[in-house]
């Protein structure tokens, strides 16, 4: 009995020693899988879309093979990723599509996140129809004519209306408001994840069926299923300020990188490298396509790109 009690006391003492009796700020806490076996580790956030995977794959490859880091990746949705970045669970986000509320909170007010500069890629969100359909019916590419085609886009899920397919709930979207404010005879159907949306688009394309979908570029799927954008009322600065009253297209966004402030200051070579990391839409698409269509592992795809674009990435390391 006594031995048992001593053991419990010992275990408790150990627990107190290891956790410390003082304050424990869990917002400054790394992943338990980080730095295993004495390696220098960088943790990158991978968002769920393949373009983001391409950024991370190349950055990871270069960090591991040229700079000798170990890289952990975590898949998190966009908004939670900001949270994780501010807490230091993630060191960097390489592709952000604009989150003004979070920028205000973490970059300007709390200063736990630092801007990392342009990624070099410009993102654009819009409504798309497959090109095979747009060629047969050229006037579908103007939003004013969409109602004429509503019955062509009907599915069991959209009831009596045309279907406008939206993707993951984590993506920036005004589509419900747009449909309402532009008085369109459409029903927004949320695919719930990008994977589901892509699978559905591919199935439609295989049968050459018409469809209308929320989509964004750069995206590798355009190479596989050519799509044409539907013109919405032109974007003007501030026309999307009130989410309920939006009646204009989405803007063109230069995609941004963000670093955790501590990492940006103490991250050494890795932080410097990630700040300089900048490439073009074509570069990103090349890697994305290798991952998503040729089913190469992200690492193999990154290796292929790295081997053939030496001059581009040498500049990031200097």
């Amino acid at each position: 009995m006594r031995r048992k009690r001593m053991m419990t006391a010992g275990a408790l003492a150990l627990l107190v020693l290891t956790t410390g009796c003082g304050a424990a700020d869990m917002t400054q806490q790394a992943s338990p899988f980080a730095n295993a076996q004495g390696a220098k580790t960088v943790t990158l956030s991978v968002q769920s879309w393949v373009g983001a995977q391409a950024n991370v794959a190349v950055a990871q490859y270069l960090l591991e093979h040229e700079l000798g880091y170990r890289v952990d990746t975590v898949q998190v949705d966009e908004v939670p990723a900001w949270d994780a970045l501010s807490q230091g669970r993630v060191d960097a986000i390489l592709e952000d599509w604009g989150h003004p509320e979070q920028e205000q909170r973490y970059v300007d007010d709390k200063k736990t996140i630092t801007r990392g500069g342009d990624l070099g890629v410009t993102g654009h969100i819009g409504w798309y129809v497959p090109t095979y359909f747009a060629e047969q019916h050229p006037d579908v590419t103007n939003w004013k004519n969409l109602n004429k085609y509503a019955d062509r886009f009907r599915t069991p899920e959209s009831g009596g209306k045309g279907q406008l397919m939206d993707g993951s709930p984590s993506y920036v979207t005004n589509d419900k408001a747009l449909v309402k404010n532009l008085k369109l005879d459409y029903q927004v159907v949320f695919a719930g994840s990008e994977a589901a949306q892509i699978t559905q688009i591919k199935q439609f394309a295989k049968e050459k069926k018409p469809f209308l979908t929320y989509w964004y570029s750069p995206q590798w799927l355009f190479k596989k299923v050519p799509m044409t954008e539907v013109k919405l009322p032109a974007y003007q600065e501030g026309c999307d300020a009130d989410p309920a009253k939006v009646a204009c297209a989405y803007p063109h966004t230069p995609l941004q990188k963000y670093l955790n402030t501590d990492f940006a200051e103490q991250g050494g070579k890795a932080a410097a490298f990630l700040r300089k990391f900048q490439w073009t839409t074509e570069d990103q698409n090349e890697v994305s396509l290798m991952i998503a269509e040729q089913k190469l592992s992200p690492e193999e795809a990154a290796k292929k790109w790295v081997d053939s674009h030496r001059t581009t990435w040498k500049a990031w390391l200097s």
């Binding site: 290891t18 992943s31 295989k206």
Partner: protein, 644 residues
């Protein structure tokens, strides 16, 4: 997976008639008074807006407060911070240990433990399972998941056992805990995630804690059951020998409850493993994360490569703990030191050879062939199949002819009549208490302001349960009648029951398109094994004497089934229904990821956008829906067990 085997006592169908009529009459009377009143005040088909509470503002405030104070408020610094730290430290310790002993050591240790506990056959199985994980190129993720699991399961077992001990020894605790545990058992895992994330942030601590909350209840429930079920005679004998209360507990009650304790461990492990994948949504890492990432690039093969190790781990752990629960006494204890020494020797040997990491060249790429098979399947089945039509057509018809009418019907019904139907169903099958809980849960959904989406979800659940029951009962009956069929079926059921639901979400979309139909299909696939299993078990347990006498009276095999087996197995069939409903609900919620919309989408949205107001309200509504469905389908038996 060992299913929850509560065997309710037989109720005589004849005797039920009178009380049933009385109950309905009483309910009709209550309705006749209350409905006109309610109708006069709030005349609307759906839940009246006057009776809802909008929680958006307070919840947003809470969320902002937590984010602003997470790094400064003492509650976080001195309480949650330490919990989080402890989790990180222990997961890290286990992970580093696993890496240090290397793949040879882990495999040897696993196999030898299995050998001591469960015999040679399972030891070989365990070793093969570990090697397969490595062969699939998943060694490191498997170890990460294993580390997380070890910590989560240990914590669940400690928490569960303590709660169970309290409930087992004190009647008052038991009364207080039972409804809580009952409720937790039916909660879909998805509903837990958001609040945990908000406090702990994305990452391993949040994942471990969500897992503990999910996996501890079965341990608590079974511990209490075991302690209460101890043989009175033995206890009296121990008492007469002058043992103190503590001695009685340690030397008599706990050993007597061994079987239940190990069953609890088994259930806890299974629940924790299934949560390990869902928790990848909040940054659990490991195998679940691989599955989740593979799905983002629509790579079913890669998802399967990460899913198979989960299935293997689950099957091995299930069999080993089940074997420990059933027997194990025939093995002498003396073997343990040898086993440990052998494991140590292998680990050291592996280390000396410099082989702690799984060799990169020893991997097998299954992703490609699997993807080709899936592509072929979807290409040939999706549409244009002669005569029967493609799967896309079925999905379309199912949506227009089944899902739409059911949903529209439910949403068309006046809100008070929905409550009445719930009350009537729950009362007929249970007691007035279950009926009251069910009605209150349903009303809470209305008050939360998510009546319409909840009924949408409910319509999907009803459709999926109907399909599951038809298929499940048919397969279960076939399995009960043919030993060979059951043997063939067993591994298939094991795989489908433990395969992470995420893995089959994408093939299901490829087959049925985006919408509610794929969610229903995924739910059917997930719930079917449990229903088949309980049905087959129930039919097989029917008293052989009854069967014999039926046969001697010249009943054909069809008559035997209809008139003897099925009526006698009624409690088991009701249990199958109950389990089916709970499992279907869990997956219909995840169906939010494939376009099922409704409450599931709201939870996904809340998680993705960090929007506590939407996510938490939807989560609470799911809890209520689960509670209602459980009570409506809950056989009286579980209550009657109280006395036992």
């Amino acid at each position: 997976m060992a299913t929850i085997t509560a065997t309710p006592p037989r109720t005589l169908p004849g005797a039920l008639k009178h009380p049933a009529a009385r109950k309905l009459l009483l309910l009709a009377l209550a309705a006749a008074i209350l409905v006109p009143l309610a109708n006069a005040r709030w005349t609307s088909g759906t839940w009246p807006t006057a009776l809802t509470i909008d929680l958006t503002q307070p919840l947003t405030n809470v969320s902002d407060w937590i984010i602003d104070n997470r790094d400064s408020h003492p509650l976080f610094l001195y309480f949650f911070g330490h919990i989080s730290n402890a989790v990180v430290l222990s997961v890290r310790a286990v992970y580093l240990t696993l890496l240090t002993i290397g793949w040879t050591g882990v495999t040897a240790l696993g196999a030898l433990v299995a050998w001591r506990v469960a015999g040679v056959k399972l030891a070989l199985g365990t070793a093969a399972a570990f090697l397969a994980c490595g062969l699939l190129g998943m060694w490191v993720p498997t170890m990460q998941t294993l580390a997380l699991m070890v910590v989560a399961v240990l914590a669940s077992v400690v928490v569960g056992a303590l709660l169970g001990l309290a409930a087992g020894l004190s009647d008052r605790m038991d009364r207080a805990l039972r409804p809580v545990l009952d409720t937790m058992q039916v909660l879909p895992a998805f509903a837990y995630l958001l609040p945990v994330v908000l406090v702990f942030g994305i990452g391993v601590p949040a994942a471990v804690l969500a897992t503990v909350v999910y996996a501890a209840p079965p341990m608590a429930r079974l511990t209490a059951l075991g302690l209460r079920g101890a043989d009175k005679g033995v206890l009296e004998a121990v008492e007469s020998l002058g043992a103190t209360a503590r001695q009685r507990l340690l030397t008599a009650r706990v050993p007597l409850a061994r079987k239940e304790l190990l069953l609890g461990l088994n259930q806890t492990i299974m629940m924790a493993l299934s949560m390990a994948v869902i928790a990848s949504v909040i940054g659990a890492g490991g195998l679940g994360d691989r599955v989740y990432q593979a799905l983002a690039s629509v790579d079913v093969g890669a998802a399967l490569a990460a899913g198979i190790p989960i299935v293997l781990l689950a099957v091995v752990l299930d069999r080993v703990t089940a074997a420990a629960g059933n027997g194990g006494t025939e093995h002498p204890r003396a073997g343990w030191p040898y086993a440990l020494a052998a494991a140590l020797a292998v680990a050291v040997a592996g280390r000396l050879l410099g082989r702690t990491d799984w060799p990169g060249s020893w991997t097998l790429n299954i992703a490609e062939p699997v993807n080709r098979a899936v592509d072929w399947m979807t290409a040939h089945l999706y549409s244009g199949v002669p005569v029967v039509g493609g799967t896309a057509d079925w999905a379309g018809h199912f949506t227009t002819w089944v899902l739409d009418p059911v949903r529209d019907g439910l949403q068309w019904l006046p809100w008070w009549s929905v409550l009445l139907v719930v009350a009537a169903l729950a009362w007929l099958i249970g007691t007035w208490r279950t009926a009251l809980t069910a009605v209150l849960a349903m009303a809470a959904i209305g008050v939360l302001g998510v009546w319409e989406p909840a009924l949408d979800t409910l319509s999907q659940v009803l459709a999926a349960v109907a399909v599951t029951l038809v298929l499940g009962f048919a397969t279960g009956i076939a399995a009960a009648r043919s030993d060979r069929f059951e043997r063939l079926l067993r591994p298939v059921l094991d795989v489908f029951q433990t395969m992470p639901q995420f893995v089959y979400l994408i093939p299901v979309v490829a087959l049925f398109g985006v919408g509610r139909a794929p969610a229903v299909a995924a739910a059917v696939v997930y719930a079917l094994p449990a229903v088949v299993r309980i049905t087959a078990q129930g039919l097989r347990q029917v008293d052989p004497a009854a069967m014999e006498s039926a046969r001697s009276l010249g009943a054909t095999s069809g008559q035997q089934l209809r008139q003897v087996q099925l009526p006698l197995a009624r409690p088991a069939l009701l249990l199958a229904l109950n389990q089916g409903v709970v499992l279907v609900l869990a997956v219909v919620i995840i169906g939010g990821l494939v376009g099922a919309g409704a409450l599931g989408y709201d939870v996904v949205f809340g998680l993705a956008q960090g929007d506590l107001a939407t996510g938490l309200v939807a989560g609470a509504a799911i809890v209520c829906l689960g509670l209602m469905l459980d009570r409506v389908t809950q056989p009286t038996g579980r209550r009657a067990k109280k006395g036992a």
